[in-house]
Every structure is written in structure tokens, then in C-alpha cells.
Amino acid sequence: MSANADRPPVIAPGYTPATVTDKISAVVLNKTPRWWYVGFAISFLAAQLLFITIAKLLVLTVGIWGINIPVAWGIDIVNFVWWIGIGHAGTLISAILLLLRQTWRTSINRFAEAMTLFAVAAAAQFVLFHTGRQWLAVYWLFPYPNTMGVWPQFRSPLMWDVFAVSTYATISALFWFVGLIPDLATLRDRSKHWFGKITYGMLAMGWRGSARHWHNYETASLLLAGLATPLVVSVHTVVSFDFAVGIIPGWHATIFPPYFVAGAIYSGFAMVMTLAIPLRKVFGLEDFITMRHLQNMAKIMLATGLIVAYGYGIELFMAWYSGNTFEQYMIHNRILGPYGWIWLLLLLCNVLTPQFLWLKKVRNSVLGLFFISIIVNIGMWLERFVIIVTSLHRDFLPSSWGMYTPTRWDWSFFVGTLGLFFSLMFLFIRFLPVISIFEMRGITTGHDFEEQAGEVKP
């Protein structure tokens, strides 16, 4: 939209629809590279840790974790919030940036959406297994008309969470799959092996690329974009309500909803960056995921990082302003208590580090961005730890104070979900096009999908 000459392009010059198709589909259709086997093996091994932990958890229940009163929510919930937050960048890129007609989103939306799905899958493990007796969870989470007349508490955000997250998972999966259909047809037509032809052929659902198909396709993706847009806000808002409607100091703050949503987008873009930088390198996709993309993502990270910093600041100020003993002690304990070092580390990761993004030089350095994105990922994990654990471990009654230390089974569950996430990610980059082929073709011919998209919306 802007005619700014010093900006890098969204796609390197000299590409035609044919060369774009060749280059992206080659990633899927060529022989599997050796590094893929190594990467997948490591991830899959880590995923086994998840299954072993789950098996043990089913037998012995959540007692194998470090949680105990007063800290009944430990890093299981930290990890849940962390994973679900990461997913938000994918939805933001695929839905909101589509509606805002930001052409640059095209090359990163596909794998960002995949990231969303896999992150939600990882997050779901924690909410499902932290319920203890999972076989009973159905009847305290879902409102089904049972003969005992037992209903879940409809006024509890924990109950809303079940709906928010499951809706989110459904819409994200549909959006991702609908977006894949034209590309699956491309792969079907280009596969040389019979197995590929049949598999991709079935998944392409009879796509022939007729005008009618395209018309339906564009209507469907706009409707899904419209449905997904409120989800970017609603899911993490409900997650923030899980904490904020309680009256625990450190949880009960009205700033939580917007501050959680900003934090989610912040961590999500950090994760997209962490994945995109190695991905473009190993597949030689630097012409498609250009410096422009990395710079724009860096700017979004800076903006959301500042909102998160604003949240930390306003919490400190309001605790002082309130004159409330418990609020003030919560802040005192957060900074100077036994977990104070984590709070300090959090400030270094989440507040200090993104300030480097003000510098154009840093935004132009791939390595610099990669490091910052990893630090922000760590920082956002620490943020949830600070919110959940330090608020719980010392509340109103000093006689019931306690400490929380995660056990090795806490960690193995977390590492296991990292394994699950990366296993799925490796499978995805091997068997499906990581960049939307047909939308990139659109960019090379100047047929701008988003321009039209903007015109069709209500």
C-alpha cells in the first residue's frame, strides 16, 4: 500500500507463477533431506516423554506433579497459557491481517496457522490431564443433561474456557484446511508417486480450479476469517478471566483481558519468528519470507511488548495506589520474595530485550531477531509463572503460605509437549506446502487476493 522505496519487497523480483509453484512444491515432492530425519527423530523422542508421563499420570494422578495447596495450579497451567498464547499469532496473521489487506502476510500465514493448531493441541494436553480423573472430566466440563441433574458452573470462566478453546481449535483447523485445498490440488497434479496422487487427491476434495470453485473458496475463507477474528480476542480474554474473576491479589486486576491478549500476540509472533528464521534458511525460501516480513513482525513484537510492559507498570502503580495491604504485599513478594529472581529475569526478557527492536539495525539482523524471539518466548513463559505461582504461594493467611517446586514429571510433561509440537511441525513441513502456493502466484501476477478480499467483506 505504501510506496516507500527503502522497504524490502514482499517477494524477491523475477518470479513467475510457474517458478513459485516449482520452488514451493519442490520442498514437499523432492527427496527427504537428512536433517529432517534427525530433527524429526529428536522431536519424536521428546514426544515419547509426553506419553510416558501421561501413562504415569493416569495411574497415580496429579500427585506426581509438584502442585499442592496453596499452589494448586503449577506449571501445568503455566504451560497451558503459554501454548495457547502462542497460537494467537497464527490466527491474527490469517484472519485479521487478511481483513486488513496486508499483502505481506501471504507467505507466513500457512505455517503460522499450522503453528496455531499444533500449539492448541499441546495446550489441550494440560487442561485435559490436570483435571486428575479425566474420565470424569466430561461431566464437569460439558453441560450434558444427565440423570443426576448435575450441571457445570455456568458462571465460571473455567467452563467458558472449554467452549472458547474447542471453538478456537475447530475454526483454526477448518480455516487451515480450507486454505490448503487449492494447494493440495497442485500437489495432486504434480505428484509422481501413486500414493501421493491418491492421498493428495482425496484431500483436495475434487478441486478443479474452476471459477465457481474459486468463488466458493473466497467466500468460505472470508467467512472463516470473520469468525476467527473475534477468537483472537475471546480465547485469551477467557483465559485471563480464569484468573481475574478470582479475588487472589495478583490475579484480580481489570487490566488482565487486554494485557493477556497483547501478551499472547507478543509470544505468538516471537514463536513465528523462531520457526520462520531457520525454515527460510534450510529450504532456501529467503525470496518468499523476506526481510520485510521479519521487520514487520519485529514491529508488531515491539508494539505488543510495550503493551505488556504497560500491564506490568499499571499493576505496580495500582497496587500502590489502592492502599490495599494484600495488593501491596503481593507486589512486595513478587519483587523481593523467594521467586523475586524470576520476576527480574522476566523484566530482562520481556521489557528490556524488545527495546532493541527500536533500532533499524537490529530489525535488519536475522541473527539478532532470532535471539530476541527466543528470549521473548522464555520471557512469556516466566510471566505466566510469576502470575500463577507467586500470586498463589502467599495469599491472605501467612499460616497457609508455601512453596512450589516443579517435579521432574512436571518438566517431562512440558518437554513432551514441545516434542509433540515439533514432531507435528516436522511432519507438516515435509508433507504439506509451508507457503501458500496459489496466493504467492497471485502476488507475482499482481492479482492481489487481499484487495478483492477487502471488497467482499460485509
Binding site: M1, T237, F241, A244, M318
Partner: protein, 395 residues
Amino acid sequence: MTESPWAPPLADLAVLGRRGLVVGALAGVVSAAGLVLNPAQFYRSYLVAFVFVLGVALGSLAISMLHHMSGGAWGLVIRRILEASSRTLPLVALFAVPLLFGLRHLYPWADPARVAGDEILRHRAIYMNPTFFTVRLAVCLLLWTVFAQALSRLSKKQDDAPAPGLERRMQLVAAPGLAVYCLLVTIASVDLLMSLDPHWYSAIYGVYVVGGQAISGMAFTLLVSLFLVRKGAMRGVLQPRHVHDLGNLLLAFTMLWAYFALSQFLIIWSGNLPEEIGFFHDRLGGGWGVLSVFLALFHFAVPFVFLLSRDFKRDIGKLAWAAGLLLFMRWVDLFWLASPAFHPGRLSVHWLDLTTPVALFGLWLAAFARELGTRSLLPANDPNLAVALEVHAHG
């Protein structure tokens, strides 16, 4: 400048300005009588009027900074309106002066007797005292003015001679400007509005006020755009696709405001803590509840439904209705935030509540009309302008 196709309609603006001046001055004289008759009520009404006008000017500044960050045709076609509106900030700062004489009528922390008998007010006294309050308000107004002037000066430079890099320099002002703006609005909204209630606090308050100011700025801009279109200025400039984008932004800001309002309500209602629930207790009972419902309906539900319609958003004549309603509701919202603190348990609207905003807004409008007349209505040398004005076949 006179040959420019985008010259401001000076004669029409002069009429608008004169009307604003006359109505504002009349309402000002009546309000001044109120100051003699009932000083406490005068300051209460004046506070709401001041925060309302401040919100229009600051909202315009924020939207112009947002436009410098994001780019887009929608911003170029309204940039001069936003700039003219934010250049009035020195006048708004002048409007703040009378408030300083009425602090003890307004704020519990400005009353030494109350502070002495209240532990929380004593605790806050190091921050919430008349001197520091005045310093903070002055610094806020000064910094907002500095950012508005910096952007306006660069824009003027661009008009005088097209130079590469001016766009980037405006971005360099807008990026920190937006951050500083949000921070200062938070500080000022705690000072001006939240501290009316001696004990209540809410962390989302600053964000809520920021969202409201964005609505004020956008709604006012849309009304001015309609005025310019009616007067034949900017002929053929404001296309349906621009109006559509502006309508979408108005919708987005309205939704954001409602989101902040609902979050605040739901969290405080669920917690039901004695130090917090008082705010909503005051606003849901004794007649104020009617105003709360009115606010939910006309600050959100009704404009929301209309703004969903594509046809509605592409027609400036229709969209201006929603903008007018929302601009009025901005005043209602600020009234709802401030007044129950003075009259808990009993809905009370004084005639001064009506004359003071008319006075300030009228005088402010005169200043705005004068500012709008000083520049071309479009930034003629902006490198993106040609693209922004292209007529699309499906436009």
C-alpha cells in the same frame, strides 16, 4: 494555495467558526453565571466538558499517529482534519486552567480535612496533592502539544517542498508519540476522573479512556468530512472505499471500548469486593442504572448493529449519523464516569451539565475551523497520495 483543488472552503469555515464562537460564548456567559450561583456544580460540570473536548483533540492526535505507523489511503484523506484538531491542544490546555481553582470542590484528596481522616488518602497524599496534580496535568498537556506540533510542522514542510525522508521522520515522531500518549492518558485519567472516587481503583481505566478518545476523534473527523463534502470541498476525493475503511475503524474502536467496559464490569462484579464494587453499586442504582443501560445501548449496541452494514459504512451521509450519536455518547460516558461520584444514589442532571460542554465545544470548534483553513485539505506532496486517490473500477 487558492488554485489548489484541495483548498479549504474558507468562507464556509468562517461561518462554522463564527457560529461556534457565538454559541460557545453565549453558553460560556450562562455557565459563568452558574459559577457564581453554584460553584461546586459548575466545576463538576466543567470537568466533564473539559475531558470531553480534550478527548476529541487527543483522539485525533492518536489516530493521526496510528496512520503514520500503519499507512493506508484512509489516513491520507483525513490527515489534515486530524492535524487541525490536534493543533488546538494549546487552547485545550487553556481550558484546563479554571479546573485548578475548583479542585477542592471536586476531589476528596484536595480537602485537607478529609485526607486527615482517611488512611488511604493519607497514603496517596504524596502523589495525589494539588501541586503535583497541577504539575502532572501541565506536563501531559505540554508533551501532547509537542508531539502534535512536531507532526504538524513536518506536514507543513512537506507542503512547502516535497522532500524524501519526511514520511520516515513523521514515523519517527509517531512511534514514540503513540506510546507516550497512552501512558500520559492513563496518568491524566487517573488524576482527572478516577480519583473523584476516594478509594476505588481499576487497572483498565486508562485503556478504557484511550478507547473512548479514539471514538471521539474518529466520530468528529467523520462529521467534519461530511461538512466538507457538503460544501463541495475535496470533490471526488473521499471515495466510498475510504469511507468504508473509516467506518470499519469506527466500528473497531466502538468494539474495543465495549470490550474494555465489559471486562471491567465482569471482573469487578464477579469479585464483588467491598473496595471495588462501590463504583458499580453507585452506577446501577438510584436512577443511574437507567443511564448505564442507555450507555450500553447507544454507545455500543445500536451503533454496532448499524456499523456492521456495508452499505451504511460506504455512505458518508449515513455514517455521519452514527458518528454524531457516538460523539454525543462520548459525553454521556464521561458524565457517567464522573457524576455519580458527586450524587451517589440519585440521578442528577444540572443545567450546567449541558451549558458547559456547549461552551467549551463551541469555542473549540471556532479554533478548529480556523486551523483547518490554514492548510490545503490534502497533503499534496505526500508520495502515497496518488495511490490513495486512484479511482478503482469497483471502488
